[in-house]
């Protein structure tokens, strides 16, 4: 029996350095980061609604913009425009309730269909809050979406207006 005790003791000694590392407390600041990736890209860089009439609503196809999401973890994906106004000539105000007005435009987005319950208002990240276009999007899940413009009820000029739309992904 004695001869078995020696290897057991040796093993126990080998294990000893492991135990304190787990149990020890320290005042040091530590940084931890779990290996994971956020990877999201869109397949188009712009969308042109073309010439729009006052008070009109113009929808793109819900499959128009493709998102390749190869993130290794679940993500929350939001959509918003990055400014409060549409630039160009007399600027349009971007309305965060997607309600058109004089020189005021609104925008919606949708992933599956342009039906009530599927649309998400595209707010300004400056004056409003980005909304989820895909909450709890599973890792490596691609999807498509479309955008819809609610044109102002009246225009001050015919200059082309521009705005930047942004999809943002963060771990969910």
């Amino acid at each position: 029996m004695k001869r078995y005790l020696i290897p057991i003791l040796v093993l126990a000694l080998l294990l000893l350095p492991v135990a304190p590392a787990i149990a020890a407390t320290t005042a040091d600041v530590t940084v931890t980061a779990t290996p994971s990736f956020i990877a999201i890209t869109d397949n188009v860089s712009s969308y042109d609604f073309g010439s729009v009439a006052a008070s009109s609503t113009t929808n793109s196809s819900v499959a128009h913009i493709g998102i390749t999401n190869t993130s290794s973890i679940q993500t929350d994906i939001t959509i918003a425009v990055t400014t409060a106004n549409w630039s160009g000539g007399t600027e349009w105000t971007h309305d965060n309730t997607a309600t058109a007005g004089a020189d005021t435009a609104g925008m919606n987005s949708a992933r599956t269909a342009w039906t009530a319950g599927n649309t998400v208002i595209v707010e300004s990240s400056v004056t409003g809050t980005p909304n989820y276009i895909y909450e709890n999007c599973a890792a490596s899940t691609n999807f498509t979406y479309g955008i819809s413009l609610k044109a102002p009820t009246s225009f001050s000029d015919g200059t082309q207006k521009s705005i930047t739309l942004r999809i943002e992904a963060v771990s969910g």
Binding site: A27, V31, A33, F37, D42, S46, T70
Partner: protein, 240 residues
């Protein structure tokens, strides 16, 4: 008894050497723009902590796909005006002016590149007819410019048990290279630290801010410019 002991010893050795299996993390392909990690946690932080101890490395990978920019401008020239300057939004790849393509919608004029100014990323184009209006199309290979900056998280999307960051958090975040350019396929390691002044009182025990990494948007002249951004959660757990 001997067999039992041998089995026990083997089991212990196996447990020590193998440990728990590492979770498999699927790396995006080289064709993707990606950032890593998705979440950073700073633990036991206190306001007089050495900033170097808070360092986290964020990796930013540029897609290996060549990026070709296209812009269309409406250009009007006036009396005696034959040259026009244009600002390129994305950095010209390798400063290779031979690969800049210029086309005018006015078939009566032959526009051509006169010069490129890297400092301002502008091109001077000549050969325009005065007193005329036309569309000019510019195509060029580009590199990608990235911006890394701290941003406020959304109140409705905070990490487990986290509060919003203290008001001055942006002043405490140090990013060694907040702006950089990558060639297709390149990876950049960006160092991020925090340094909170000693006298600061932080009410929250656990707060978070986000690091936003964005690619410079593609050139566009149409209505809606479409872009994407990735955000990393940075959680700060305060110590005693």
């Amino acid at each position: 008894m001997k067999r039992i002991l041998i089995v026990l010893i083997l089991a212990v050795v196996c447990l020590v050497s193998c440990g728990a299996p590492e979770p498999v993390v699927k790396t995006p392909t080289d064709a993707e723009f990606w950032v890593s990690p998705a979440i950073i946690e700073i633990n036991n932080y206190h306001t007089n902590a050495d900033p170097d101890k808070t360092e986290a490395i964020v990796r930013v990978h540029c897609s290996n796909q060549p990026r070709n920019e296209y812009t269309k401008w409406l250009v009007e020239t006036y009396d005696h005006e034959t040259e026009v300057e244009f600002k390129l939004k994305a950095p010209l790849a390798d400063y290779d002016t031979d690969r800049i393509s210029l086309v005018s919608s006015d078939l009566n004029e032959e526009i051509k590149l006169i010069s490129y100014h890297p400092a301002t990323n502008t091109i001077l184009v000549g050969g325009f007819l005065p007193n005329s209006k036309r569309y000019v199309e510019v195509r060029y290979p580009a590199y990608t410019r990235y911006i890394v900056r701290p941003v406020e998280p959304y109140k409705n999307n905070l990490y487990d048990g986290c509060d919003m960051p203290p008001e001055s958090y942006k002043e405490w975040v140090y990013i060694d290279q907040p702006l950089f350019i990558l060639k297709p396929g390149e990876v950049k390691n960006v160092s991020v630290k925090i340094d909170v002044p000693d006298s600061t009182v932080i009410e929250s025990d656990r707060w978070e801010y986000w690091l936003e990494i964005t690619e410079s948007p593609m050139d566009t002249s149409s209505g809606v410019s479409i872009s994407s951004a990735t955000r990393i959660r940075c959680v700060v757990n305060m110590g005693d």
